[in-house]
Amino acid sequence: MFDYTYLPAPNLIPSIVEMMLKIVFIFSMNMGVFAPLLGWVERKQSALMQDRIGANRAEIFGFTVFGLLHTVTDAIKLLTKEDFIPRGADRPLHYLAPFIAVVPSLVAFAVIPFGGKYMLWGHEVNLVIADLNVGMLYVFAVASLATYGAVIAGWASNNSWSMLGSMRVGAQMLSYEVAMGLTLVGIFMVYGSLQLTTIGMAQENFFHWGIFLQPLGFILFIACALAENKRTPFDMPEAESELIAGYFTEYSGLKFAMFWMAEFLEMVTIAAVLVALFFGGWHIPFITHQGLIAAMGYLFGANFGAIAAMIIHVAVFWLKVVVWIMILMLIRWSLPRFRFDQVMKLGWKIVLPLALANIFITGLVLLAVR
């Protein structure tokens, strides 16, 4: 496990291949599937919630594919849109802001396991890009960088509404970052680790899922995650009816789309973290990790069985993620938004004390159980 020198050559190649495959998988999942698809899901889902049908008319050779092509048309349109920077704006920062917004949301996924460990031809495959022992802290650290994107976007735009939006987004994201960290301390106490793979493995038993062990932590975390994601009911920074488009008022074309993309990808990350921490990660309820591998091994032989189990686990994980994304969208489309001071009040006066209380209670219970 610990080595500074390189792995022996025969082992190096599979590791590199494994690494690249995982990165490509996550990247294609994020950029290729979720970023465009979520736009479609969001549109269609909101449409159906609102008794509408939603985008369905874009067609190639008569095929409309349930409106999926609208995401393609949107991309083409946004790409060929004028790139615009207002006078008085800080040009380099104006370019930098969407960049800063997107990168963390793409990178944050690295530590989230989307499957367990499998032995394939004597090579252990661990379905996580980087199995850091700081685990969740990495996500927090990366998430804290996302604040810059929004704050700088507003600052660099030379627009009053953007400026207001950026101040709001800064204050809001900072407040909820703290609360988010504290809400998860309970989970870390329960599983005794910050490493997401460890936490994932610990949830093999259905009744050890985080949701049962940390219900309060779960609710608080969802609130914080929604706030970090800056979507309704916490979309003060970009509240259309108040601030026009908030901090990205002066952004056009793809640069504007990048903020949205970042938002969508953040949503995927949030859903993935929720699943990994509270909903048993890749586990199927009542079926153990090894149990499934053994069963599949019995059916397909050891190696292919492991592959089959891997596929099932990965599918289960993404299924849970998709369900969570849909729930997050349901929340987003059902609720009115807060007022800014109410958001801050919720963060500091309700969530933060409750999170501290949650830590206290968890500690007491854990000590009592022991």
């Binding site: 610990f2 080595d3 500074y4 792995l7 690494m19 690249m20 990165i23 990247f27 950029m31 790409l79 060929t80 004028e82 790139d83 615009f84 207002p86 006078r87 008085g88 704006a89 969407p98 960049f99 997107v102 990168v103 990178v107 690295a110 890009i129 980087a130 802290l137 735009s157 030379n158 627009n159 009053s160 400026m163 101040m167 800064g170 204050a171 900072l174 703290v178 960290g181 504290l182 301390v185 870390f188 106490m189 005794g192 910050l194 008022t249 002066e250 793809l254 640069k255 990048m258 800014f340 001071d341 801050m344 009040k345 006066k349 933060l352 004390p353 501290l356 206290f360 500690g363 000590l367």
Partner: protein
């Protein structure tokens, strides 16, 4: 252990590449024409009245400041949570004292009205 970070590095580079690519692409493609009125910041169809970069209320700063303090608190809590089971009762009391002191701080700012947006 270090090779744990290599994927992250690779991923970061890839992400930076993607993002930079998108920005460069959008600034190359697309028609462009700039003229005086368009370059004005948008303010509901009239010319802006004041410079947007005026100063903001001190509360925003206060929030950031409180954030730092509580972030440090959280930072201390993470390693504690990881070794909580090993430390047992002793660690629990120890941390509760720590939290208590900071809760006093929270109560102070609460009472001082630093959390109010009035």
């Amino acid at each position: 252990m270090l090779n744990q970070y290599i994927p992250i590095l690779v991923m970061t580079l890839a992400a930076c590449g993607t993002a930079a690519g998108m920005i460069i692409l959008t600034s190359i493609i697309g028609p462009k024409r700039e003229f005086e009125e368009k370059m004005e910041p948008f303010e509901c169809g009239v010319s802006p009245i004041t410079d947007p970069k005026s100063r903001f209320g001190v509360r925003f700063y206060l929030v950031a400041m409180l954030f730092i303090v509580f972030d440090i608190e959280a930072v201390f809590l993470f390693p504690w949570a990881a070794v909580f089971r090993e430390l047992g009762m002793f660690g629990f009391v120890e941390m509760m004292v720590f939290i208590l002191v900071l809760t006093v701080g929270l109560a102070y700012i609460w009472k001082k009205g630093a959390l109010e947006w009035e």
